[in-house]
């Protein structure tokens, strides 16, 4: 397991569709300085820096070079992690490894994306040139493609999907950083929004946001000294599935990368009944249907019961297991930061700094990342080191 390691600070920008007041490096700087302030540290206290970004989405390579200094990388150990949608969680896991290894006492991870600077559709098209690029290059159809299969397999309805969108955008109203805050959104409005790609409506998809998020890790001794309630990393697991859409079997129902990562992480911590044992979950929901599919894959319920979980309100703020008090990726999506935001929001709940989105008495938090066609990260954070 390595040495005990905790998140002791987090920082986020205000995420929105276009931030013309900052360039990419300044966006990174905004999150990094917010996290340092939260942890009551200076950049001198940071031993290692990890950047997470989709890189090609901004039409610019080498984000660690062009933006690293915004995270205090000057004359430090610093590099980037780029694994698609999981970049932000993989970066967070990398930061954890740095400190847990004992080779670094602190590490700062900054995930960021400035969608408005680039062309996401072109970024998505820069995939394998021989097969999928010519058919399914753009993001919306690519996700939507898996939904009709999932609906047929698991009997999920479009009303249940729309309820996820309503929950997310209402939760987002309690999060001052969130992009889409819609207090009065209804199921009817979601289903009446334009259909982008069958069966997915516009309000069932994540937006594209400009934003950055930073987290700071410290080893046990420093974490206890600097933070009254550190968010200890209890498990961090990554699994990658195949790369072509046709090779991934039943992407949403099967999601074997997420199931396997969760199985291993739950075993590390001794989780047997995730719905009961976790106090809050921040899961990476690129669209509404995925959130329901992840409920099943993460063992919150049996297969085919994900829709009922949302019908019964078990994942609302006042439910058995609040899922995405932040509003989730459906409400805020600077891709390279989206995973880091899940980790930061999870840590925030343990730190007790959730403000209006704080869930009472949080001890055990589940965090997930989802990327590319079928890659998954799972982290478990806790108020207790073991």
């Amino acid at each position: 397991m390595g040495r005990r390691t905790a998140i002791i600070g987090t920082g986020q920008t205000r995420h929105c569709s276009k931030r013309e007041d900052v360039n990419q490096m300044e966006l990174v700087y905004e999150a990094a300085t917010a996290a340092l302030k939260d942890a009551e540290m200076t950049v001198k206290d940071i031993d290692a820096v990890v950047l997470a970004n989709m890189e090609l989405f901004e039409g610019r390579a080498l984000p660690d070079m062009w933006c690293g200094e915004g995270a205090g990388a000057f004359m430090k150990h610093a590099f980037k992690i780029s694994t698609g949608g999981t970049s932000g969680t993989s970066g967070a896991i990398s930061g954890y490894y740095h400190v847990a290894s004992g080779l670094f006492n602190t590490a700062m991870v900054v995930g960021f994306e400035k969608h408005s600077d680039g062309n996401t559709s072109a970024g998505m098209a820069l995939t394998d040139p021989f097969w999928d690029r010519h058919i399914a290059a753009a993001a919306i159809g690519n996700f939507a493609l898996s939904v009709s299969e999932y609906m047929a397999d698991r009997g999920v309805t479009e009303e249940q999907s729309a309820k996820v969108a309503v929950k997310a955008r209402r939760n987002a109203c309690n999060n001052p950083h969130a992009h889409l805050q819609m207090p009065d959104l209804t199921v009817k409005e979601v289903l009446e929004s334009p259909m982008l790609a069958y069966p997915v409506h516009r309000l069932e998809m994540c937006p594209q946001s400009d934003g950055a998020c930073a987290i700071i890790y410290a080893g046990e001794e420093l974490a206890k000294k600097k933070c009254s309630r550190p968010a200890w990393v209890r498990a961090a697991v990554t699994r990658h599935d195949h790369i072509y859409l046709g090779e991934v079997k039943n992407r949403l129902s099967t999601i074997r990368s997420l199931k396997e990562a969760a199985r291993v992480a739950y075993k590390m911590v001794g989780i047997k009944e995730p719905l009961k044992e976790f106090d809050v979950a921040e899961i990476y929901d690129p669209l509404t249907y995925a959130e329901i599919a992840w409920y099943e894959a993460l063992g919150f319920c049996k297969d085919r019961e994900g829709g009922r979980l949302i019908d019964d309100g078990l994942t609302r703020m006042d439910g058995e297991l609040p899922v995405n008090p932040s509003g989730g990726v459906i409400s805020t999506n600077p891709v390279g930061a989206s995973g880091t935001i899940r980790v930061a929001e999870g840590a925030l709940q343990i730190h007790g700094k959730g403000g209006k989105r704080q869930v009472p008495d949080v001890n055990l938090v589940l965090v997930t990342g989802y990327g590319v066609y079928c890659w998954s990260d799972v982290m478990i954070l806790s108020g207790r080191p073991d």
Partner: protein
């Protein structure tokens, strides 16, 4: 609010040409498609799966594939979508339908275009058939699309 600030925005565009080598295995796949209108997979000697399009090695067993196997041209529609908005990298105008198709004899599936764009006609499990392009150049779009069988 910070997002209301109107700053200078640099507009621009880059050329992005490429010349990717397909390698021996995919080259043969494309040649079979171009010259014989045959869709070819390769079998993994360890797990026995027929992988389509043909690949040099099985990623689950990390073993080189050996026998070439012709699959299709008919298959089963696994899942589908219809995209209603034109995007610059799409091969056709909206509405654009595509699906994941399990060709007969294959153990992996192929993402490809569907001629049918009426959702009522497209259901997982429907049978489909490859329609080859008249002019073939050694490209995945030498299969022009799949039609309902």
């Amino acid at each position: 609010m910070s997002d209301r600030f109107k700053g200078m925005v640099l507009e621009g565009k880059l050329d992005l040409p490429f010349s990717y080598s397909a390698g021996r295995t995919a080259s043969r796949f494309f040649i079979e498609l171009r010259d014989h209108q045959r869709i070819m997979g390769k079998r993994c000697p360890r797990c026995n799966r027929v992988i389509v399009p043909a690949q040099l090695f099985c990623k689950e067993c990390f073993t080189k594939t050996d026998d070439w196997v012709e699959v299709g041209p008919e298959g089963t529609l696994i899942t589908f979508t219809v995209v209603y908005r034109k995007e610059s990298h799409h091969p056709k105008d909206a509405p654009l339908a595509y699906g994941i198709i399990r060709l007969d004899g294959a153990d992996t599936s192929l993402v490809h275009l569907l001629a049918e764009t009426d959702v009522a006609q497209l259901q997982p499990g429907r049978r489909v058939r490859a329609v080859f392009s008249k002019k073939r150049i050694g490209h995945i779009l030498d299969i022009n699309h799949f039609e309902m069988a």
